[in-house]
């Protein structure tokens, strides 16, 4: 069994980052500062290091019309300096203290993190608190960084047909909701973004009440509380936090299909995405039923799609499914397959549709549910090995309207799911009117 195709790598990553946290046997502390900033502390005493993350409840889906990419450009610009720590100082100080750092932006959140020796936690808190309100931007540092982002878009998206298709799938799946535009932005809009656009977005969203601090590592909740109150506590909210209301997606009425031919494509790929509710709009049982449905259909070598398409019919080199509900407004349920040389996407699609009809009409067996759930619970232990992964799970949950309880009670909630819940999930989600089917084809292929 091999997983080397690029699409698979992306999907596996999505599952790791996007799946609800697995059962957690850890002693998490959480509290809220007087200014509204939430704090989560996850102990990991194995090495004298900490992961320090500040998550803002703002992402690409919160951008004003015509400013696609400003959330991500601002993420880049957050390294450009303040009066106290001018350009380059933030990164220079982190490096000089033996730390690594980076940042990332999604539709719903923007996060900044450092991994550093535990004695340096206060230092990175001081730096991160300073840039929450004191960023200074000039055309001299904004314009080259905008060019960097344009190169990033060319590198990650425009140079890669499967990324271009993924962007088109989102654009087709969402007719009104901003999830239909890419996080990095359309090139035509990125090219027009200005220093003032970035400053406006910054002033509107970078506030302590709109931020979540997650610290994982060799540190106690009391230690973090003391330091957080010292450095983040004095920050005042300059405007009251606003509800995150985006244009709602209207009820879907039409099946969509996106076909992309590109001479850089050597072999076809078939994929389909269905709209689902998001975690915060689902009961725990509904949410976990969706992830179990995805696992039964396409999670690993015992799954129905692997057994049918790859082993029995020998049509696909690989096939799978995943569910991601870790977003604020809506989630995705996805299925994908790569035809073997000689097989067509049409043959693949026919068999997949038969399998989907079967699971929608007949549901799953108790044996499938038990086996799939047991494996999920066993696999959950591996997340304990990475403090950065743990920190990310809590950061994603708290910036997408979920609770710490959702994360901590994962195993209990998963155990409550019945075969009826999974059957109901299949009937709800597998509605072609709420779907887009995407074909990636060679330039001269069929």
């Amino acid at each position: 069994m091999i997983f080397r195709a690029r699409l698979i790598l992306i999907i596996v990553l999505t599952i790791i980052l996007g799946a609800p946290a697995r059962a957690l046997d850890i002693d998490v502390t959480s509290f809220t500062l007087a200014n509204g900033m939430e704090v989560v502390v996850i102990p990991d005493r194995r090495a004298p290091v900490v992961t320090h993350m500040v998550w803002y409840k703002v992402g690409a889906a919160d951008e004003p019309q015509g400013k696609a990419g400003i959330a991500h450009l601002l993420e880049h610009l957050m390294f450009k300096g303040t009066p106290k720590y001018p350009e380059g100082e933030f990164s220079r100080i982190v490096r000089a203290n033996g730390g690594d750092e980076n940042a990332f932006t999604s539709q719903d959140y923007t996060a900044y993190f450092q991994r550093i020796a535990r004695e340096r936690l206060e230092l990175v808190m001081e730096l991160e608190a300073d840039r929450m309100h004191n960023l200074v931007l000039t055309d001299e540092n904004v314009l080259p960084e905008r060019s960097v982002v344009q190169e990033e878009r060319r590198e990650r998206t425009d140079n890669d047909p499967s990324s271009l298709l993924a962007e088109q799938l989102d654009a087709a799946l969402y007719t009104a909701h901003p999830y239909g535009k890419p996080v990095i932005g359309w090139m035509s809009e990125v090219a027009q973004l200005t220093r003032q656009d970035a400053l406006d977005f910054y002033a509107e969203h970078y506030e302590p009440a709109n931020a979540v601090l997650v610290v994982a590592g060799d540190v106690t909740g009391d230690e973090v509380k003391l330091l957080a109150e010292r450095h983040y506590g004095p920050l005042k909210n300059r405007r009251p936090p606003e509800a995150r209301v985006r244009t709602q997606e209207p009820a879907p009425v039409a099946e969509r299909r996106v076909i992309m031919r590109d001479e850089r494509v050597s072999s076809p790929l078939w994929q389909r995405r269905y709209l689902t509710a998001s975690s915060r709009n689902l009961s725990r049982r509904e949410d976990h039923a969706l992830s179990l449905l995805a696992d039964v259909l396409g999670g690993g070598t015992q799954s129905r799609l692997h057994q049918k398409l790859t082993l029995e019919k020998k049509l696909a080199a690989y096939a799978g499914a995943w569910s991601s509900t870790d977003s604020l407004d809506s989630g995705s349920f996805a299925i994908y397959a790569a035809p073997n040389p000689g097989a067509s996407t049409a043959e693949i699609e026919k068999v997949i549709d038969e399998e989907l009809a079967l699971i929608r009409d007949k549901g799953i067996s108790q044996e499938e549910l038990d086996r799939t759930r047991d494996r999920s619970i066993a696999e959950a232990a591996y997340v304990l090995d990475s403090q950065e992964s743990l920190a990310r799970i809590f950061g994603v949950a708290l910036t997408t309207g979920q609770s710490i309880g959702n994360v901590m009670n994962w195993e209990r909630d998963l155990a409550a799911v019945t075969v009826e819940d999974v059957a109901k999930a299949a009937r709800t989600v597998l509605d072609l009117r709420a779907s887009v089917t995407g074909l990636l084809l060679p330039a001269n292929g069929s």
Binding site: G88, R156, A317
Partner: protein, 439 residues
């Protein structure tokens, strides 16, 4: 200027910190099994997991002519049936036990990565033993995995980074084993059969070439038993012909693979030193200042930060068993390719002529020493590091010694390495795209 004094205080603190945390937070034991197999062990009870990384010296450079990719093919077959278990039975049991097992075929080492829940370790190690001692290569999984590899090779053949790097290797090491298509071609993957996989299995899996690192909830006595269980049945050694040291050629030379896309992918570099070079550490510090990770290297500052020409540029030492290389890459708009490459040469030349400043050296040292601990922050990360140290023959005390080696590097040493190792006028350059401005 109060800011400056704050910064100096922070930098001074960092030097103290670096020496404070260089004392490692874990103990590495050398374990010798009753049957004579050695492993490095870090016992760590905090999480209910065991990570085992192992490798066999002699990677895909030993793939026979015309069977390039056979080691790679083998990596995909070791969970497809072994001993009495069919592919289906093996994978069912693996999923039920929830262990993780993967293999990687590198140029110089064939590597395995294995993780199990502590509570399932007995059965999981038994399946690992089967996988590496008695893989079956049954016809059904073999044909299925072949299709997967052929698709994978076809995709790689379209990937601009892969094409650029492959072409670079063919120019820098013409005719060499390293420059062959070691992930296989459509033709070689189509031609490989069970006999070839069996031969590769016999060649690779022998005890004399084995190195093992284990981190997790297991003690030395139990590990000794596990080592004999998993690896004790392998042959002691196998014969194979030595591959002669590689003979790289120097540039200047530029090759372009023309392709319609918005950006050019540019790979550049030339010969360098291997890991056993006595000056490797000062050379490594120099390369970190010139093109290392983070936002502060000279190449990143000049090409990304000041001019916005690329999302990322890096250049670093790439030491292999039979050759040392110094390779970098960047991607930029086609119309900026000439400008970006000229800047690479200019930045390299300045470093070769003048070396870094004392401040740059000091910062690089505090970063490298302070961040070393970050490489050891999970069981699987520690196992990975410890295996790498064994592969490079650096000794079990290297984790303790490493930061003092970095601390001892002087400005004169780094300047000497810059002059010795950087040859901007002799770069071999491989481009994929429609570059403008390359002469």
């Amino acid at each position: 200027m109060s800011m400056l004094s704050v910064t100096r205080a922070i930098a001074a603190a960092a030097v103290l910190l670096a020496s404070a945390i260089s004392a490692q937070a874990f103990a590495i034991q050398e374990v010798k099994s009753p049957g004579g197999i050695t492993a490095w062990l870090v016992q760590e009870k905090a999480v209910p997991l065991i990570a085992m990384n192992f490798s066999f010296k002699g990677g895909s450079v030993y793939d026979p002519q015309g069977k390039e990719g056979v080691s790679e093919f083998l990596t995909g077959m070791l969970d497809e049936g072994a001993g009495d278990l069919s592919s289906k039975e093996f994978q069912q049991q693996r999923d039920a036990l929830a262990f993780r097992m993967s293999f990687d075929s590198g140029r110089d080492f064939f590597e395995g990565s294995f993780q199990t829940l502590t509570r399932n370790r007995a059965k999981s190690f038994e399946l690992l033993k089967l996988a590496i001692n008695a893989p079956r290569f049954d016809a059904e999984p073999l044909e299925r995995v072949r299709q997967q590899f052929i698709l994978s090779v076809q995709n790689e053949n379209q990937d601009p980074q892969t094409i650029a790097f492959r072409n670079w290797m063919k120019e820098a090491l013409p005719g060499d084993a390293y420059a062959r298509d070691l992930n296989g071609t459509v033709e070689t993957m189509a031609a490989i059969g069970a006999d070839d996989l069996n031969a590769a299995h016999r060649r690779i899996f022998t005890r004399d070439k084995l190195q093992v690192a284990v981190v997790g909830d297991i003690d030395a006595v139990e590990l000794g038993t596990v080592l004999d269980q998993v690896f004790g049945g392998l042959p002691v050694s196998s014969s194979r012909e030595a591959v002669a040291a590689a003979k790289p050629v120097m540039g200047p030379k530029t090759v372009v693979f023309e392709r319609e896309m918005p950006q050019s992918v540019i790979v550049f570099g030339h010969e360098s030193i291997t890991r056993d070079d006595p000056d490797f550490i000062p050379a490594f510090v120099m390369s970190e200042i010139l093109g290392g990770g983070g936002f502060s290297s000279r190449l990143t500052t000049e090409i990304r930060e000041k001019r916005g020409l690329t999302y990322g540029v890096g250049m670093g030492l790439s030491p292999a068993e039979r050759v040392g290389l110094y390779v970098g890459s960047l991607q930029t708009s086609n119309d900026k390719a000439g400008e970006a490459l000229a800047l690479v040469r200019e930045v390299m030349a300045k470093m070769a002529n003048e070396g870094p400043t004392q401040a740059e050296l000091d910062e690089a040292k505090t970063y490298l020493t302070g961040s070393y601990a970050l490489r050891f922050s999970s069981n699987s990360a520690i196992a990975n590091q410890l295996l790498g140290l064994q592969q490079q023959d650096l000794g079990i005390d290297y984790v303790e010694r490493r930061n003092s080696l970095i601390e001892a590097v002087t400005l004169d040493q780094v300047k000497a390495q810059a002059k010795r190792l950087l040859h901007p006028d002799r770069l071999i350059v491989s481009v994929v795209g429609k570059p403008v401005g390359l002469n």
